[in-house]
């Protein structure tokens, strides 16, 4: 896995999610992540960026900085916004065994991200929300089984 660092700023708009997704998944494909990991990444990007577009800024649209770091068997992507402080990892997980009538859709997105991505981290730093997704290279040792 060749070491790569890239970053790009996008307006935090829902209609730009496909463009952001393509930017990140192109890098993931070049880094030779497994095609299933690339799909997991696309789903996660949809969840994370949609959250930022919908909730981060009181006066939308703000911006989202995408920062990619590849190396040491890891593909890491940061989603950085300057919106209201929000740690999605503290959101209560939905009851996935609830019946249809009691099903709630809140929190489902981030729940999904945590199940399909190897590592998810959040930190608040200098007025910024930094959410990081990490996928392990398929040839690494700690990766999920495919």
């Amino acid at each position: 896995m060749q070491e790569v660092k890239k970053k790009k700023v996008f307006p935090a708009k829902v209609k730009l999610i496909p463009e952001i997704s393509e930017y990140v998944s192109d890098c993931a494909e070049k880094a030779e992540l497994h095609p299933k990991q690339v799909i997991h990444l696309k789903v996660a990007i949809d969840e994370v960026v949609a959250n930022i577009c919908h909730y981060a800024y009181q006066k939308p649209p703000g911006e989202v900085l995408i920062q990619i770091e590849i190396g040491k068997g890891r593909f890491a992507v940061d989603f950085i916004d300057e919106g209201v402080p929000f740690d999605p990892l503290t959101v209560n997980e939905p009851d996935i065994n609830a019946g249809l009538a009691d099903r709630e859709v809140g929190g489902l997105g981030i729940f999904l991200v945590r199940r399909i991505i190897d590592e998810v981290h959040y930190k608040r730093d200098g007025g910024k929300n930094i959410l990081t997704l990490v996928l392990y290279a398929p040839d690494g040792k700690n990766h999920k089984e495919y």
Partner: protein, 103 residues
């Protein structure tokens, strides 16, 4: 995302091609409200050409399932690929919907 609608008797089949995510889910919402306006129908989702689904898509399916149950009709999801099936399993949606995967 491309949606192909096919009605046969009182069953409407929607074949989805592409991605069912935040941007495209509104297309499906609009399609479904038009169908439900037409009365009680059985719904079939053909997911054979669906690449992936995110929670925005799951939300639309959940609303459709509730509507179908209220109408006393049926909803079936056919042909889901491995990735889509995984999302249904991980979120527990396989337990509340009829999902027949392609495998």
């Amino acid at each position: 995302m491309k949606i192909t609608k096919n009605t046969c008797g009182n069953t409407t089949t929607l074949a989805l091609q592409g991605r069912l995510d935040t941007v495209t889910s509104t297309q499906l919402v609009n399609e479904l409200s038009a169908i439900f306006e037409g009365g009680a129908v059985n719904l079939v989702f053909d997911f054979a050409a669906l690449e992936y689904i995110s929670s925005a898509g799951l939300r639309v399916l959940l609303t459709a399932q509730k509507k179908v149950n209220a109408l006393g009709t049926e909803m079936n999801i056919l042909g889901a690929n491995e990735m889509v099936e995984e999302i249904f399993d991980v979120t527990g949606f396989s337990g509340i919907m009829k999902v027949n995967s392609s495998s």
